[in-house]
Symmetry: C3
Amino acid sequence: MSIYTTLQSLGITLPEAATPAAAYLPFVQSGDLLFVSGHISKRDGRVLAGQLGRELDTAQGRQAARGVAIDLMGTLHAACGDLRRVRRIVKLLGLVNSTPDYTEQHLVINGASELFGEVFGPAGQHARSAFGVAQLPMGAAVEIELIAQLQD
Amino acid sequence: MSIYTTLQSLGITLPEAATPAAAYLPFVQSGDLLFVSGHISKRDGRVLAGQLGRELDTAQGRQAARGVAIDLMGTLHAACGDLRRVRRIVKLLGLVNSTPDYTEQHLVINGASELFGEVFGPAGQHARSAFGVAQLPMGAAVEIELIAQLQD
Amino acid sequence: MSIYTTLQSLGITLPEAATPAAAYLPFVQSGDLLFVSGHISKRDGRVLAGQLGRELDTAQGRQAARGVAIDLMGTLHAACGDLRRVRRIVKLLGLVNSTPDYTEQHLVINGASELFGEVFGPAGQHARSAFGVAQLPMGAAVEIELIAQLQD
């Protein structure tokens, strides 16, 4: 099953590529590595804000992380033209907006990690780090940065 | 206009390369990628400390981030001998010392991102992540880590 | 003196490679770069938890970071078959579970950085960033992510 068929069967529509901000780019390629900027959690085009352990629980955080993964795939599609050019999802850096007592960042970021596995299969299996940050831009619940390896 | 002329026109003097710490190096090259260690904010050679949302406001944070970018350029110059060997600023990781309620980390790190664009032009446009950390070494306000691609 | 002799002389036994989690991998190789997932601090196979500035002091944090470095070496050994295939420890990302007032993250992560230098010699000297995070998965005291360059 192709990546796009899998996305369709999961009911996922990729978003348009994010409009580049003034000061930086959504991605930069160097050799065959694609460095994708941190994407923050959104819902219906607006920032999905909140701190885990205060306004949001782990299930909500997982959903937020899954949404970020979909946005990252939209950016990968924009960067590559075709997601089949993604040879490997190499690494995620998963940042979770956390109170000083919230300790389930790994479960939150699983919402993104599992979707990459479902959509890309073995090529979607990646290294990663997940941790709790004091805050995120615009109060976002989750931010994820990604490195992918592309076909030459 | 060359990079050094641009720096001069902006009134920027690059600092001497940071003295390597005992336990780690200011940069390591691997292939054509240069991995530059996190640089913390300084003023007049001393740590520029303070937490955003407590001791410092966004404008002060922007200035701190701009100062870190200048220090990073000093390290890039030391690593390369000549900044024209920088083919691309690939990625910044921008850490902002933040209270649990401060949400303008992106505006703070713009102080660095915009300077890379001004000085390096299109080669200075980069991917990045910006987020709020609970604290930084020696209480620094900002820490930025960088990956650059060098000419072969 | 070989790497394994050095480890023996330091009384260090490398752990078995971590069992891969369901959602992600302990490491991914891309070209000659090995991206190693964040490893959290453990003692006797259980999470070594606690926040610096609250339950743990800097000396205890250093020990925790040294332990993470040993676990990372176990993963490097599993990834490479032989640690002599590690051409260079390129970069560490050192995350310290910190109260909003704890500012010695660099001293904590030195516990890992210094061990890499002792065990690998010049090949162990690396770039790095160290910073304080609001929390870590399962309340771990320290988490460290690593990039290494391998022999072709």
